[in-house]
């Protein structure tokens, strides 16, 4: 695509240089909070606002943070939560998307509209009623309660339905001729062809639920069910004597798995978000 810029008249050298400087300044501004967090977390607290090259490096803050709160447990919870939600989503979304993409049945339009309602009225907003429901079901303060409202995902159904619609009918028919029932056809023809969509959806879902905060905060009240986002908030809100070095260390700790995964699979992540955006 660099041809686009070269073909058109300009930018003259000066303008391009200015734009480059602007782009880099903005980028530096954008990662400044992270760089700063790194500095504070890896140095003794007396250097948390003094930027001298001779400042000694240390891992103390991480050790202290790790021992000050049950972060190991929080991580286990988050991983279990994210895995549970994603597994349920993949099954439910696949079945529903298949029905909407390839079946003709009474009520299809109405049901699809009912699915799309969730794109606007998200579980994030229905906290009061969902809390009531969870209390009624006796699920309060469990991982299942955090995950349940998100398992039937309208976004996923919509995304996958679009993909399934592009599968050629001939493949579908060939599978039927071979004697495959609807579920076997779905599994052997549709699911393999939709792989890129699945990866895109999975990455978006994982980062969404790893980061989700308000609903887990409301529905949990013990370390046994808290995900890492809530754990971090409980940790930094309870009086730590405002030791910022430890709080930033805990902050980095809690984002580390996602950040490392993102840096390793950057291209994959960006492309997934792109794919998920073009519906």
């Amino acid at each position: 695509m660099s041809t686009t810029a070269t073909l058109l008249r300009g930018p003259r050298g000066g303008v391009l240089a200015l734009e480059t400087i602007g782009a880099w300044l903005l980028a530096l501004l954008w990662i400044l909070p992270l760089v700063y967090a790194f500095w504070t977390a890896f140095h003794p607290s007396e250097f948390s606002t003094r930027f001298v090259l001779s400042a000694p490096w240390t891992l103390d803050n991480f050790v202290k943070a790790w021992h000050a709160a049950p972060f190991a447990r929080y991580f286990v919870n988050t991983v279990a939560l994210v895995t549970m939600i994603l597994a349920a989503q993949l099954v439910l979304v696949t079945l529903a998307a298949y029905a909407f993409a390839r079946f003709d049945f009474p009520g299809r339009g109405v049901l699809f509209a009912l699915v799309l309602v969730q794109l606007m009225v998200m579980p994030d907003v229905l906290i009061v009623e969902n809390y009531r429901t969870m209390t009624f079901l006796g699920l309060k303060d469990t991982l299942l309660a955090i995950g349940l409202p998100y398992m039937a995902s309208a976004f996923g159904i919509f995304l996958l339905r679009q993909t399934f619609k592009t599968v050629p009918h001939e493949l579908d028919e060939a599978a039927r001729v071979e004697g495959c029932g609807p579920l076997a056809t779905l599994w052997k023809v549709y699911v393999p062809l939709a792989r890129p969509t699945y990866i895109a959806y999975a990455l978006v879902s994982i980062s969404y639920h790893w980061n989700n905060f308000l609903w887990p905060l409301i529905i949990t009240n013990s370390p046994e069910s808290r995900p890492v986002t809530v754990g971090l908030q409980v940790f930094s809100a309870t009086d730590q004597g405002i030791d910022w070095s430890i709080i930033t260390a805990a902050t980095l700790l809690s984002v580390a798995p996602l950040l490392v995964a993102f840096l390793l699979f950057q291209r994959q992540f960006v492309q997934s978000f792109m794919r998920a955006g073009i519906r």
Binding site: A5, D104, E129, R132
Partner: protein
């Protein structure tokens, strides 16, 4: 017979997803309306039908109005700025600028991180006395200022965090669209001798209109949906200066445990989101009309 079997298969395929959607999206939305006409159960006092009393309280509640006003300022202040920045970022990263890979990474990283975690870092930036902003402004000779602690700047501070968090996310959608744009257009424009700015204004920007509208709808939803940074940074304070609608619902519902009044407040939020949905629907109609 054959047809009936197809129908039943389709319905069975839909059953699990529809059941969960009904339980956690449709039912709560309707139950919320229902509960907003009743009183909150307190101790031995039973729930009674009180008609529009919750809504009457709402109209007379100055904090509600302030939350609504704050939320509108928040939306109007963050949405255009983050969309403009997103577009600028996308054009830069799509062009022939040096270090594209790094730039894209830097712009996008805030999107991946939990709002709750980055809000902690920003909180430190804004801290009086030893926060980074204080240090810089003091070295430049400005008087000390409590950024999050004063009513005049607190909302601005949380808005900056929101723009920082969202611009990179929206950039991705613009970038995807720019990359799928035909190079023929640029060639034709080059033959006509069009300048880069002219090309952007007359060709690129109009072609990006569907993306802009998609991003806009998402931005509006997020402006009413994300309050994690409020929980960390200000708790709606000082003196309700950063009270946003959903955060107010959270406070009423889960700190004062007035679920009936919270239900009435939620209805306002649902109506606002419904209006956003209608706007998107109207736009989709128009777009299909074009095709």
């Amino acid at each position: 017979m054959m047809q009936t079997r197809t129908w039943i298969t389709a319905w069975l395929l839909l059953l699990p997803a529809m059941a969960l959607l009904a339980l956690f999206t449709h039912y709560p939305a309707i139950a919320n309306l229902f509960h907003s006409f009743y009183s909150t159960p307190k101790g031995a006092r039973p729930v009674v039908f009180i008609g529009l009393d919750n809504y009457r309280n709402l109209v007379e509640d100055p904090i509600f109005w302030q939350a609504l006003r704050n939320n509108l300022i928040y939306a109007v202040g963050t949405i255009p700025l983050s969309i403009a920045l997103a577009l600028l970022m996308a054009v830069w990263v799509n062009g022939r600028i040096a270090g594209k890979g790094f730039l894209r990474l830097a712009y996008f990283t805030p999107t991946i991180l939990p709002m709750i975690a980055v809000a902690n870092i920003w909180l430190f930036f804004y801290t009086p006395e030893y926060g980074l902003i204080e240090q810089v402004s003091r070295s430049l000779g400005f008087p000390s200022h409590n950024w999050l602690g004063s009513q005049s700047t607190a909302l601005l501070c949380v808005m900056i965090v929101a723009v920082w968090k969202e611009a990179g996310f929206f950039m991705i959608f613009y970038l995807a669209a720019l990359q799928s744009m035909s190079p023929n257009l640029a060639e034709a424009a080059a033959i006509e001798g069009a300048s880069r700015w002219y090309y952007f204004r007359r060709v690129t920007f109009p072609l990006l209109m569907p993306v802009t509208l998609f991003v806009l709808v998402n931005a509006v939803i997020n402006a009413f949906r994300v309050v994690d940074h409020i929980v960390v940074m200000t708790r709606g304070g000082p003196d309700n200066a950063t009270e946003l609608l959903l955060y107010y619902i959270y406070e009423i519902g889960f700190r004062f445990w007035d679920s009936a009044y919270a239900a009435a407040l939620t209805m306002v939020l649902l109506v606002l989101l419904g209006l956003a949905a209608l706007a998107q629907f109207a736009f989709l109609e128009r777009r299909t009309h074009y095709r």
